[in-house]
């Protein structure tokens, strides 16, 4: 359920790092807790983001939830598909429904995040 090649936050985001670029998303646990997702607000390309700071929000029918960045960097790509089809976040949160891609400025931040095993313990899965 929780891929080993992702790192996880206590606020239920994940990041996958490949050659200096981090892909950020929300976890399956997060989408399940939120329920039907109807709206996703993402940062603009070129925006500078900081680890632990809000970069956008995900809204379900019932509630709004902030997205906190697992890493610091510059936004290089956003997942445009989610503007039209936010419900994809309920279907494939660890895959096709990633949120943003970031050029990392502090790659060592990754070490502060949880492994898949630690995250599963954290959520009691």
């Amino acid at each position: 359920m929780y891929p080993d090649n992702l790192r996880y936050t206590k606020e239920h985001e994940w990041v996958r790092v490949e050659s200096g670029t981090g892909t950020i998303g929300i976890t399956d646990h997060a989408q399940h807790e939120l329920g039907d997702i109807v709206y996703v607000d993402l940062p603009k390309i070129g925006a500078t983001i900081d680890q632990g700071k809000t970069i956008g929000s995900v809204e379900s029918v019932k509630a709004v939830s902030d997205i906190y960045s697992p890493v610091s960097g510059e936004v290089v790509e956003i997942n445009e598909m989610l503007t039209q089809s936010p419900e994809k976040l309920n279907e494939d949160p660890h895959g096709a429904a990633w949120l943003v891609k970031v050029r990392l400025t502090s790659p060592e931040e990754i070490k502060s995040l949880m492994s898949a095993a630690d995250y599963q313990t954290y959520i009691g899965a």
């Binding site: 329920g35 039907d36 109807v38 709206y39 607000d41 809204e59 379900s60 029918v61 019932k62 709004v64």
Partner: protein, 345 residues
């Protein structure tokens, strides 16, 4: 599960959107046992309720109910309630869970007519069967003929062989029933209803769907559209105030407000910009704060982001543009007539 006035309530069983559509298209089952009940009995019961509620209780016939309120002297809401006339000397009130203690105290405090006021909530569980297939579902389990029970009427009978008060009412805008039963029988009746509705695609529905369904019908929710500092006139509920029936608590304040003219009015809106206006967000006109959103969210039936808000009266005709402050960004919205949804028949 969320805590709702001390009750563990499911927000959703499967998906709010699926549960919502199930109620609009087929039938859904709600456990609304948290709702409060108060019985008022005695030869002066009518007189007491006439003095404490704005609607005309004397117009009710046995087996009939109406939507009304308990008001403070200043015209604000203690609660919104359903008043059922059981007999000439017996009325049954259904009140909001979170207000039930306050309501009971309010009635007792004003009970100068020596009526018997009973806090009956522990004696009742309530299951709401709502949707186009609700009658077919419930009829399988009761000998009471449901067809003659009109909207806002009720019958005392049996469901699954257990005494039940069957009311044709609801909070969804669909044909439906609210069934009051003893808590000990609730689980059995719930299970029997799920089995009876299986062929119609019945689903259990949670608080989330209950909220989206009532929002599409612009039905008020205490603590949102109506509060102690909002009057029925401001909430668009002037129709429940029968000023010619005689005095009732709050009447003088409401008449004074009516004469002076209200300044704010509950209004429907639809988001035209990107975003969802939610409860508590401020409304803006020309860069100035003009009111606030009382309830808002996506409408599964209309596939739009809708809501209810307070705006200055002059700005409440349908089609007026204004802004809602969403996380410090003004986002465009337009006033819309309410209800947003009305069923075909």
């Amino acid at each position: 599960m969320v805590d709702f006035g001390g009750w563990d309530m499911p927000v959703q069983y499967s998906s709010i959107i699926e549960e919502h559509h199930c109620v609009r298209r087929d039938v859904g089952l709600f456990d609304v046992s948290h709702m409060g009940e108060i019985d008022v009995r005695g030869p002066q019961a009518l007189q007491l309720l006439e003095s404490l509620t704005p609607n005309a209780v004397s117009k009710l016939k046995p087996g009939q109910a109406h939507y009304s309120a308990l008001l403070y002297e200043h015209g604000g809401f203690v609660d919104d309630i359903l008043v059922h006339k059981v007999a000439d000397d017996h009325y049954f009130l259904c009140v909001n869970a979170s207000n039930q203690d306050k309501d009971y105290e309010h009635i007792r405090e004003h009970n100068r007519l020596d009526c018997e006021v009973e806090f009956s909530s522990p004696k009742y569980a309530q299951i709401a069967v709502q949707g186009p297939k609700s009658q077919l579902t419930l009829q399988k389990l009761t000998a009471t003929d449901l067809a003659p029970i009109k909207y806002y009427h009720f019958a005392d009978g049996e469901v699954c062989g257990v005494p039940a008060r069957i009311a044709r009412s609801g909070y969804t805008g669909e044909h439906g029933y609210e069934v009051y039963i003893a808590p000990a029988s609730a689980e059995k009746i719930w299970n029997e209803l799920m089995a009876a509705g299986q062929e119609y695609g019945i689903k259990p529905a949670g608080l989330g769907a209950r909220n989206t369904l009532r929002l599409e019908c612009a039905m008020a929710l205490y603590g949102h559209e109506i509060t102690a500092s909002i009057t029925p006139l401001e909430a668009g509920l002037g129709r429940m105030c029968k000023f010619d029936k005689g005095d009732f608590l709050g009447r003088q304040a409401l008449l004074a407000q009516q004469e002076k003219g209200i300044t704010r009015l509950l209004t429907g809106f639809e988001m035209t910009g990107r975003g969802i206006g939610r409860d508590g967000y401020e409304t803006m006109i020309g860069g100035e704060i003009a009111g606030w959103v009382t309830s808002g969210g996506p409408s599964p039936t209309l596939n739009k982001n809708i809501g209810l808000c307070y705006l200055p009266v002059a700005h409440t005709q349908p089609g007026k543009t204004f802004q809602i402050l969403i996380r410090n960004q003004p986002v465009d919205a337009v006033t819309r007539p309410i209800p947003f949804y009305k069923r075909a028949n």
